[in-house]
Symmetry: C2
Subunit: 478 residues, 2 copies
């Protein structure tokens, strides 16, 4: 899911808003959608909490299945025809279709979530889905269960307020997105018409701290690898550190050949296939609002990594690939002291890729780099790979989403060519070069992939209203 | 405890030895010590297993107290007068004294053990003290409970066979050795006569694979530190890796400034105080037997670390300081994939020091080095520090130990100026510049500080006999 920009992360809690149902007697309701939402808010929130309580992390087959069934049932409740596609032993792809019209909007979502660890940092349980301060706190509330659900609820709301949908909406809800969508291409190939559509409404999306909707028109690819070193048959007493090989040192030395102090990746050939932005694209991104100070406050950092200034950071977030250590471990990491030479060390690295980098090719380049630098003893295990995808900006879908966002969220929308994150849009949009867009409710402090993930209900209703508007506008948008 | 050389790690199990008690009827007994041991072997083994079953790891106050009490009781059973010295809240120093004569031998031991983790790698529980294949398998069996106990049992055996001890033996048994002996100086200062003696028999000691006793005449010092980086208030989605600071990368970069590919430590001033060996010392160590191939087989390594040849490794093990990563951790280290930018990273490093390096000064040098290289954000926490100590070779104690070892272990002894490991000999021997020596039974594959630590019973009886001989010889040794 996207990291990109910011919102209302310290917005007033929902209960103080003038649109609160408790004020029905005080304020006249003229907008039928408002009236509909007012009478369904509690149910919609309960539904989201229900879904968030399912701990659908990778590897928890029962929870993933429960989440898939929940989604299928919810789609049927919204009058979608549903189908399921399966690859043996893997989470199902849940498909739901409804509405009619000339255009088909493919709504690409996922019901799996990132691991909730480290649990001790959560203020309330990640699968409790606590409501406090106008927010819902749960793993997946932002990425991506909230986004998934509001798009279904928007179908219901559209019908309740405007009548039958003027477009066909096809939900593709997978269960392996956080694990690299390894089987999505295979699942989609079971019915090639699944990707026949006019554009894709993708997962996620955000509203910045100033309340501006950020519409993402693409995402980076990813290569997730593990590097493992075994330097000896077993750990040894560190009195032998003069001559017994330390796996941790070995891994540190290997890692140090990967990235320069300015963040440039030193793996030979790494940038060869990178599609450089045009001057116009660069200028567009440079002049987009960027809440650098909000990000710095949230993360309590004095400056950005790799010595990047604000605008450099913004441009890099869209156009630059990365080499990120997601985790590293070796030896004794408990309390106290243990004087041991570790015989094993492991690091997890995710490379975020930009068009036209290929995960497979990057994997081969990393292997060749290690060999060339004398690290043949470092094992490389590729865990997942997804191609990057950047859709076009000049498209009816983007125009419709922009108009819907500005109408319902009330500020100028930012069109961002690519998220820093990854979605499997290559698999969905690649064949027909479809435009894709987010229209979401994340906020800069939402904590996707981190402890205390949460969404602001205020944003939730805005994004839901915007999605209803999109369904209507996209039908006729030029 | 020492890492140094090698023994009988695949020796035949004890039960097949001709000296086994079951063969009493077959073989005439002429040696009274043999006869005494034959009738006490089962009890002595049971005692060691009892002691090893106490999980006296740092931080387990109850287990440490139980081990201290066990030792005091065992000392009293060997007719020692016992005392205990305490610093509030810390493990006791147990003192036991017995015998008389012109000389006093200070027997420096410890009842605490290294953490047994990782538990899953143990073939039998670390505190089960299983007996199999002629060995006892337990955390602490080698380091240092076996050595501790056999020196007490040797007092009993001496008296049973030869009558009253001709020397005074003073046991100083501490409970913080594996944690840096932080309070030992303070405990010893409570009675300054505790370190008044003629020489010190220190913990540990080993017999190499060829059966040669290795007598260690000193040990390295240690500085154990943690480096901690917090790069952000919390973890972030790795889509932001273009500009959000990764604590793991930061730590890897800092670590990379510490050691050159040849193992030389790059911290400015690190070698300033190192006492270089004399040509004679170098030649002595170069020509000592060194079972490089045995070590390489045990650890399944093709060559030594830092590109060191066999003799270089031997010389370095005695004279070179080290900078060892004992553990490192950051971010997501579970199964599967999580795309996170870690906000925290931690590494544990032990520096083994040689005379005249001071742990306090090295700590200051590391801090200054980090600051100079732009890593002011890396916190340094010093966890323990012990000065190195190398005693003289030309001393009656060393001559007595060598003679006792060669007589009872049956091969030429190797006089090794320093262990790769650390003991608190500075605190015990520093004031009076006492000689110190090991006379032990460890073997190259004993696994001190590692899973499956064990001792070979065959070696145990040899070292016990040698200790009995030392008590007698040292009384009159010139």
């Amino acid at each position: 899911m996207c990291t990109t920009p910011p919102t209302y992360w310290n917005a007033p809690p929902f209960r103080t808003r003038t649109r609160d149902a408790r004020h029905l007697d005080t304020f006249a309701r003229v907008d039928p959608l408002d009236r509909y939402l007012d009478s369904n808010r509690d149910r919609f929130v309960d539904e989201l909490r229900d879904l968030c309580r399912i701990p659908s992390e990778t590897g928890d087959a029962a929870a993933l299945e429960a989440a898939a069934l929940w989604c299928a049932e919810r789609l049927r409740a919204a009058k979608c025809e549903t189908r399921e596609f399966r690859v043996a032993g893997e989470p199902a792809l849940v498909v739901g279709e409804t509405g009619g019209g000339k255009r088909t909007l493919i709504c690409v979502q996922h019901y799996d979530v990132q691991p909730a660890v480290p649990l001790e940092l959560w203020k309330s349980g990640p699968y409790e889905a606590a409501v406090r301060d106008g927010a819902i706190w749960a793993r997946g509330a932002d990425d991506n269960k909230g986004h998934l659900l509001l798009r279904i609820q928007a179908v219901e709301a559209y019908r309740a307020v405007h009548g039958e949908l003027p477009i066909r909406v096809r939900f593709l809800i997978e269960g392996e997105e956080e694990d690299g969508s390894a089987h999505l291409a295979e699942l989609l190939a079971k019915d090639p018409t699944l990707t026949d559509g006019d554009g894709a409404l993708k997962e996620g999306g955000a509203i910045d701290a100033a309340g501006r909707p950020a519409l993402l028109l693409g995402g980076k690819g990813i290569l997730y690898i593990e590097l493992r070193v075994r330097s000896m048959a077993r750990d040894a007493h560190s009195g032998g550190a003069t001559h017994l090989p330390n796996a941790a040192w070995r891994l540190v030395q290997a890692l140090n050949t990967f990235v320069a102090p300015d963040g440039r990746i030193l793996i030979e050939g790494f940038y060869d296939d990178v599609r450089r932005p045009t001057p116009a694209e660069l200028e567009h991104v440079r002049t987009l609002p960027f809440e650098a100070d909000v990000l710095k406050t949230i993360y309590a950092i004095a400056g950005f990594a790799w010595g990047r200034k604000d605008t450099e950071a913004r441009v890099a977030s869209v156009f630059e690939p990365t080499c990120n250590i997601a985790g590293i471990v070796s030896g004794f990491i408990g309390e106290g002291t243990k004087t041991v030479i570790p015989s094993e060390a492991m690091v997890k690295i995710d490379f975020r890729l930009v068009p036209e980098q290929s995960p497979q090719k990057i994997r081969d380049l990393v292997r060749a780099h290690l060999d060339r630098h004398g690290f043949k003893d470092v094992d490389l295990i590729a865990k997942e790979g997804t191609r990057p995808y950047r859709g076009r900006m000049d498209d009816p879908l983007v125009r419709a989403a922009q108009a819907a966002a500005e109408q319902e969220i009330g500020k100028p929308a930012m069109l961002i060519p690519s998220s820093g994150g990854t979605s499997p849009m290559w698999q969905v949009c690649g064949k027909r070069s479809l435009a894709n867009v987010t229209l979401g409710m994340g906020h800069p402090n939402a904590g996707a992939h981190a402890p205390n993930e949460h969404i602001l209900l205020d944003n939730y209703w805005k994004a839901l209203r915007a999605t209803v508007a999109l369904y209507g506008r996209y039908a006729t948008q030029q």
